[in-house]
Structure formats: structure tokens, C-alpha cells
Symmetry: C2
Subunit: 489 residues, 2 copies
Amino acid sequence: MPRAAYIQRKVATFDIISEEGLCLIEENADRILRDVGMVFQNDPEILDYFREAGADVDGETVRFEPGMCRRIIQASAPREYIQHARNPDNNIVIGGDNTVLSPVYGPAFVHDIDRGRRYATLEDFRQLNRIHQMIPYLHHCGGIVCEPVDVPVNKRHLDMMLSHIIHGDRALFGALIGSERAEDSVAMVKILFGDDFVDRNTVLYAVSNTNAPLVMDDAMSGSLKVYARNNQAVACTPWMITGAMSPCTEAGTLAQLLAEALATCALTQLIRPGAPCLMGSFATAMSMQSGAPTFGMPEAAKTVLAAGQLARRLGIPFHTVGSLTSSKVPDSQAQQEGTMSLVMAVLAGANFINHATGWLEGGLCTGYEKTIIDADLCGKLIRFCEGLDLSENAQALDAIAEVGPGQHFLASRHTLENFETAFYRSMVGDANSFEQWQGEGSLETAQRANRIWKNLLAEYQPPPLDPAILEELSDYVERRKASMPDRDY
Amino acid sequence: MPRAAYIQRKVATFDIISEEGLCLIEENADRILRDVGMVFQNDPEILDYFREAGADVDGETVRFEPGMCRRIIQASAPREYIQHARNPDNNIVIGGDNTVLSPVYGPAFVHDIDRGRRYATLEDFRQLNRIHQMIPYLHHCGGIVCEPVDVPVNKRHLDMMLSHIIHGDRALFGALIGSERAEDSVAMVKILFGDDFVDRNTVLYAVSNTNAPLVMDDAMSGSLKVYARNNQAVACTPWMITGAMSPCTEAGTLAQLLAEALATCALTQLIRPGAPCLMGSFATAMSMQSGAPTFGMPEAAKTVLAAGQLARRLGIPFHTVGSLTSSKVPDSQAQQEGTMSLVMAVLAGANFINHATGWLEGGLCTGYEKTIIDADLCGKLIRFCEGLDLSENAQALDAIAEVGPGQHFLASRHTLENFETAFYRSMVGDANSFEQWQGEGSLETAQRANRIWKNLLAEYQPPPLDPAILEELSDYVERRKASMPDRDY
């Protein structure tokens, strides 16, 4: 399958609620914004933006007249935009019928079947960068592909950005937490792309999570401001364990989710009209036994499908999450939950899918084998999104007539001409007979995946990078790290 | 989750091709039926039916004028019908927005993690019957849940039917191969339900596979005739490994599939107008390396979604297949492939999904643990099909106002009132922390599933059955078995 910069979907979205239902959710979101409002903590500058725009600011609570946030967003937020990569072949178009798949974000632990589960290190980070770069079905470098816990917390973002730039040539994430780290991300991409280019073009993607219900803290609003001011993309993503951080019903969760997304997307446009923003959705149920979050469940599926519909009506790109699971290992639970989750994200018409590969253990851990197994699903879904070919060749009427009843198509001209590209070729699945499989050692999927990521690492070649730029970036990182004491927060 | 007799879907189907595309496929199917025709082997009676109806019969090849089969089907085939179970609470409505989930069909081997893979026996058959009966997410007894290889081939159908009737009280399959075994199936349900009841009502479900391309042999047409004559349901199901038995393109496969389904469905209506028939679809890609069939692949997904659309336009119920995989064990490949496959069958609007649980190794094997893991997915999809509740309670506006920004919903009145039914509760998934999971023995999903099927067997109680009927059935089986020599075909 050819390596493409992003998916251009030729299949429909799956719409789970009616027009009437969507209007109801939108009305409820407006009522929440008018009657309850949203709290922006410790950030008076943001309150000023909202006050100037005509919102009702009461302490740190901001309330909005119905329709106000939607009008602000629709007046200037782009329906789609380009995120530039350092290799222009990897530029991605975010929005419309396009989908971008990005690897796992945020885990503190890594897992592979040789070494088990352990704290992640900067070396894991670099290995994952290399593996991701080799996977043809990913479209984005990702961000915190794992937490390099051997680096002080306040300096990790510098090493991570440098590692991404060195090891991959796809589009980049900016650091999410705090204005200072966001400024570092912008400074580094300015070295990479040039100051003017960065101001005129989007080269960074960032997620801004709310603290549901209805709160955004200054760590998030701080980085949001930096990215919006610099014309970089922000996916405004309410983060909800439903039943704890939102009602335990989908309709209630959706209204709250939309309210939070509307207020935070509007903020990006008040800071810099026209800066790219996405409506994000991360809503998952919890276990009724333990209160632990669960993933790939039917409630999450329904919610993400409806959230996609709401984003399309709002007219901005839709961000959500991919192959999620609470399994601790790359076993059948992991794939049942992850497949439900990623398939639904794709059917929801998501324009950006974070955590498309590698997620384990509710996001606390990423797996080397899980990455490969998930990547295979990404490949399948990329193929699915191509839709159904109705060309004369695909109709194959002549072939059916030529072969005739009771014969086989294996040696037919049509099959020989189409065979090589006809079917998706699985990276890790084993379709052989039991006897062949047994003869090859009775390997489970994770064992085959283990060989594959090792092969990818062995075959990996770093993409070319101007040595002068690399030196400047390395100097920046060194200088910044030397300028501050180590901190673990 | 309450045990329901079948799924009444409140979500839409996922339509992958346009009206225009559907018309094209239909036109191509008509051209195939007119120009190539379909061969019915060794069954002159069937040729007479077709000749009388006005088809062009040339040797064993039958050709049809465009639209002819469709007209025959639409004149009498029911859009939906009831299949009666011996427990009327388990009667199922097949057609419309309803979906019935049925376990695996046909495997010669069984697998569990204690004993590995081995030939299936009658005792396995009975154990699987008991497990299926205990699973709340299945709606049908199924048929050959495994091949009891310790019973002579020509007598298995008798022991299997008796085991189904003894161990379960859901709706039944009839034996698929040959008129004699079909007659035995009908005779046995007549003992169970009464002669008149069986003639007036549908109590058996059977699949009639073509030998693609465009052939039906007398083993299949023989049983098809028996069931149709007796007003029992036949799912006319072209069985295709694409690239071998149909073109390696979806559009070509769909036209051939529709042609075969049209001819065989029409046959049921010529035999007995009004007898229930379904359009079936079983089309899967193959490995380009080995020629082995593959499952859960994107091409199969697209094909089943389009086949569902074609069946709805034809106006009869749609039959397809569920959680398929070529994996040899219940690992992550099994669930990635199986989940893709079952999710797509549900989104295709299938009215009957065969092999919804337990399939391994391309259908050669069924797994005890796989059955449990798949059943969990069935439960999730049943919940998904309930759609998105938009009631005032689900909207939860008061709860959102009451809780307010930055607080949590765990103790809110709304959560307490809705908590117990709010979320699907996974049978086999583990959402606990790594430490809890480790403390409980670091079990993989298959190990937890192993405990579950053993618990189900321990808790199993046979449903009540009139001893006089049981005696009559046992006598019938004994008499029929004594009447013929053992045969291994």
C-alpha cells in the first residue's frame, strides 16, 4: 500500500443522532453556557478577552448568551487548514474529509514482551520516534510518545521536540502544559522553519484539555494563548470520564462537551481570529465496580459519533482519540476495545485521531508490540476509507463471463492484472494453516509484532536534516536546559 | 443488561455506496443472470421449476431475463417473519430493524487454553450448547456449533438436533446438507412443535450456500427444497473467497453475489410462495502470499456493507457472518479481525449474524475462550444498537447545573439514580490498575475467559422439556440411526 501523507476519506460518516437530536444538544450546550458558564482559573488576561467580546464575566466564571461562542468561531475559524511538516511531502490537510492518524500521547510507562512494563526513558522515546517514522500508516510525529522520566520534568519538552525533529520528518505537536513550554516549542519550530514561515503557516498541533466539568486552568489556557497567538493549531478537547466529570448519560455528556469546546474554541478566535482550532472529544465511561475508566465501550462509541456530527455542524475540524484500552498487555481485550474505539473514531469522521497506535493501560503505558498491532488496524482502516471502486475494471463483468460457472478466478486475466493491489496485506496477522503456523513456532500475534518492531528499527534511516539547523536546535535546547534548575513538576 | 430475545436496532445502517452505485451493481447482476446464468447440478426438479417460471434452461444452466428473479422474490417473499423457539420468550423476528446473533457454525476442531486444539466430540457439542444457552447476548441455538467427529457423518445431524433441543430453548437451525438430513430436521421439529404448527409457522433456519461462481449442487438444493416446501427459512448465501471464487474486486464480487442470491432466493419462492428466504453474504479476501482466506479485512467490510444495502432494496432480510478470524488462538489478531468483522455486520444492518461467537482458524476451529470474549463484544454491540437516549433524564441539564464547574458527578442524584444501568459492564475486560491486575495474577484475557466459561457450565440448568416429547425425539433418533449403516460422508 503506498505511503500517503493523510487519509482522504471516500466513505460517509456514521451519523447516530437525528437533526432534531443535534439541535437539542446544541440548545442544551447554549443553556449550560448561559446559566452555568465556564470557569477560567488564574488567567485574568483570558477574562479580559471574554469581557471585551461581550461575555458576562463574574469572578472567574464566564457566561455566554446563546449562540455567542458559535458566532465567534464561525466568523473566523478555518474549516480546514494545512499543517506543514519539515518534509513537505508529509504536509497534512486537517479538516474536510481528511483524517490524520497520530501515535499514542502521554504514557509514563512502556511495555514490550521481552522486558515487560517499566518506566519510560528518553531512549524509549527515541526508539518509538524511529518506529513511528517507519510505519506507513501514521501521518504525524505525535507528541509525548512516552514520558522520558529520566529527564527532569521541566526540561523534557526540549529533549522530546529535538528527538522528534531528528528522528522523523512528519508534522509536529507542541508542548501542551504551560506558556513557557509552549514558547519553547514555537521557538524551536521557528529555528526549523523560519520566523516568518511560522507566523504565516501552521506547523504545530496542540491539544488543550478542559478540567471537566466546565473548568480550564492556566496551565492549559497559558499554552493555548501562545499557540493561538502564533497561528498554531489548538484542539480544544474536553476530557471526560463520564459519571465522574460529566453526567453518566451520553446526551448530558455531549451537551457539556459541546459547551466546553465552544467556549475554548471561541477563545482561540478572540486571541487571533483565523488561527486553526479543532473541536475535540475525549469521553469514556467508567467501571461501575471500581470507578476506573473503561475504553472501547458502546457509550464512548455513541458519544464520539455524535460529537463528530456536532463538530461538522459547527464547521471546524474534529479531533478525537484512537485505539484505547484498559488492558495491561497486547492481548485480545486490548484489540477488542482498541478496534471498537478506532473504528468508531474513523466512522465519526474525525480529522485528527490521537492515540491511533500503542496505547495500553488507560494511557499510562505504551506498548512496542501494541504499536505494531494497532498500526495494522490503521492500515486496514486507511484501505476501508478508500471506499468501493465502481470503475469498469472493478465491475469485472468480462471476467465473470470469461471464467464461467464452477471455474475459478485465480488464473484469470482480471485477477492477474489486479492481484497485487487487490487486497490489504496485513503486517502482523497470520492467515496460514494451523500446521504451517505450528511449524513456525505457534507464535501469538504479540510475538510476531515483536519481530516486526525490531525489523523496523534495524531498517530505520534518519531523514535528512540540515546540520546547521540541527546545531542551532541543539544549542537552543542546551541553553534553555542550562538556564533553569531541574524540577519534577 | 436484560436478556432480550433479539436486537431491535435504533441506530442507522452504514451505507457505503450511492444509489447510483447500487443500480449499477443490480444491472450487472441482471446481466450475469441473462448472459452467463447459473448452474444447478444434478437436480432436474429444480430445472423444471425454473422452466415453468419462464427461465431459459439449457442443460443445467439457467438464464433469466433482467428483473425476473427480483419480481418472483418481491411477489411473495416476506420482508420479515417470526422464527418460533420452543420457549416462546425466545421467538425471534427476522427482518426489518432486527438483528439475531447466532454462535459459530461448522468447525471440526475445538480449542481451549487447558487442552489446546483437538478434534471436536459430541461432548464438546453439548458443552458448547450449554455455554451458548447461558450467554445472554446470543439469540439462537445455532447449528453445527462443532462437528461431533466421534459420531458417523451420516448420523451426526440427529444427535446434534437432539442436543440442541435438550440443552437450549432458543430457535433452531436445520441440517444444511442433503434432502434426507433436512427431512430429519423437519420430522424432529414436528415432534417438538406439532405437524400443523410447523407447516403454518417457521421454526427452522437453514443456510443454503452456492458453490461460487454461479453453481448450486444438489446437496444444497436438496435441503433448500425440503425447507421451502415446509415453510422453513432459507438464507441463500453465496460463499466466496474473492479472487478465487469471485473477482478480486468488491464491485465484481457484489454483482456475482447478488446474481447468485437472486436465483436461489427466487427458487425458494417458486417452490413455495411466501416461504421465508434471506439474502446471504459471505465474501472474504485471501492472502496474496498463500492463497489462504483472510478475515476482518477492509475489502470484506466494504462488501458486507454494500450487500446489506442490496438486500434492503430487494426487500428481504439480510444474513451474514460475524466475528471471523484466521488466528489459531484467542489473541489480539483474533479480536482485531473479529471485531472489524462483527462491527461491520451490525452496521450493515444484518438481520441474522451467523458465527457471532467462537470462530477461530478460518472456521476450522471454535474456541471456548474465544466464545466468551466474542460474547462480550456482542453485549457491547447490543448496547450500541440501543442508540442514543435523548430523554430529559439523559439530557441531565439539572445535574450539570447542580454539580457546577470543577466539582464531580460521582455523588450527584442523577448519577446515583442512573448508575446501575448507565454503562455496559464487560464480562471479561479488566479495567483495574496495573497493580490490582498484577496482584490478581497478571491474567491475560483468555485466562479470565477460561474461568468464565467454566462458571457458566457450573451454573447451567437445562430448560424444562416435556418428558414425553423427549422420549419421542430420542426414539426417532435411535430408530433413524439404526436404519442406516455408518458412513463417513
